[in-house]
Assembly symmetry: C2
Homo-oligomer: 210 residues x 2
């Protein structure tokens, strides 16, 4: 019985990289960034800690990858409804609000990861670039919805006013995301969504739904 139990499994570099990234995010969510050491992460992933440096040149590189991965996932969940042109406009807006202000986007763990990375942004050009890309991606996906909403009721499409409303709607979502993630007991998802719908429809000067 020579090969009854292999000592480890050999994975493709792509799969292993994703495993290590997801282990990193789990550790950060559970214990914070300072606890995300190579030893802790590799234990979470179930591999030797020296394996990390075989797939990532430095630990910093793993952090870059984890940040981009996390942001991309959040944006995808949050905006998946925005481009679904089959559904009516109001439905799409409400779906975006709901997706943004419910788990797993509005969530203590996600906030932990986000806050941990945010503090690296000003000191690191690559982190800053990742941040800019995801933020502008979010705003670019949201603005067409707002333009459409204003046009649909014959509102004057002054570009300056459109941008003003886009920034304001974005701020409402960001602010509620922040507070809902930090104080979930005080502000459950249903309450956040209710407030967001009211505020955004007020800003867009649309008739309140329901």
């Amino acid at each position: 019985m020579p090969e009854s139990k292999p000592k480890f499994r050999r994975e493709s570099p792509e799969q292993r990289r994703v495993q290590l990234i997801e282990a990193t995010l789990r550790v950060i969510a559970r214990k914070g960034v300072s606890a995300a050491t190579v030893r802790e992460i590799s234990a979470e992933a179930g591999v030797a800690f020296s394996l990390i440096r075989h797939h990532f040149k430095t630990k910093e590189d793993l952090m870059y990858a984890a940040y981009a991965f996390h942001m991309h996932k959040m944006a995808q969940v949050s905006l998946s409804a925005a481009t679904d042109t089959a559904r009516p406009l109001k439905e799409r807006i409400k779906q975006c609000i709901t997706d943004t202000l419910s788990p797993p986007v509005t969530d203590g763990a996600a906030l932990q990861v986000w806050a941990g990375f945010i503090q690296m942004v000003p000191h690191d050009a690559r982190m800053k670039q990742i941040h800019m890309d995801t933020y502008l991606g979010f705003r670019d996906a949201l603005e067409p919805l707002i333009v459409e909403a204003l046009r649909s009721q014959g509102n004057h499409a002054d570009p300056a006013r459109i941008e003003q409303k886009a920034i304001a709607c974005n701020a409402v979502l960001d602010g509620l995301w922040l507070e809902g993630s930090m104080l979930p007991d005080m502000l459950p998802a249903a309450r956040l969504i209710d407030v967001a719908e009211f505020a955004i429809f007020a800003i867009l000067e649309l008739a309140q739904p329901d």
Copy 2:
């Protein structure tokens, strides 16, 4: 010439504590939380690194003190206009908006410090307490302004609707604070204030100013 230049200056515990706290916040703002080691902080303050443990039982205690100090300072700047009952209501609201969305409250360095501490909140009961206190303090100071604004124009003071509007206004300020601190080039203070005034007056169903 025995005592030409003393090797160090002896300060009162209270003064030295504040000096160490402020040095901590400067280091965090400049290099992030991970760079805020006892050696780095004490170098910033111009003292031996072992002095920290003479004034704070542990390094964690210094962090608690720095967090509370930072939050208290931000809330004070942001809300100083709220209680100034001599000025007319609209002026007070606009002043609060301006104070909140200008430096030093809306500022990259302040965001750095805040983000660094936020990630400790879920894992630490004392940090959580400090956070709750400052957050509720902010909301309690803002809500009377909103109640007064709604009452002033004979609006129906349904408590549920008042709280809804208070949460929404809070979210606008939080969201703009966040985005303005992260992307100051894209969103300068003047733009933030402009958007905030528009959005908050829309939410409160007040006539737009100017």
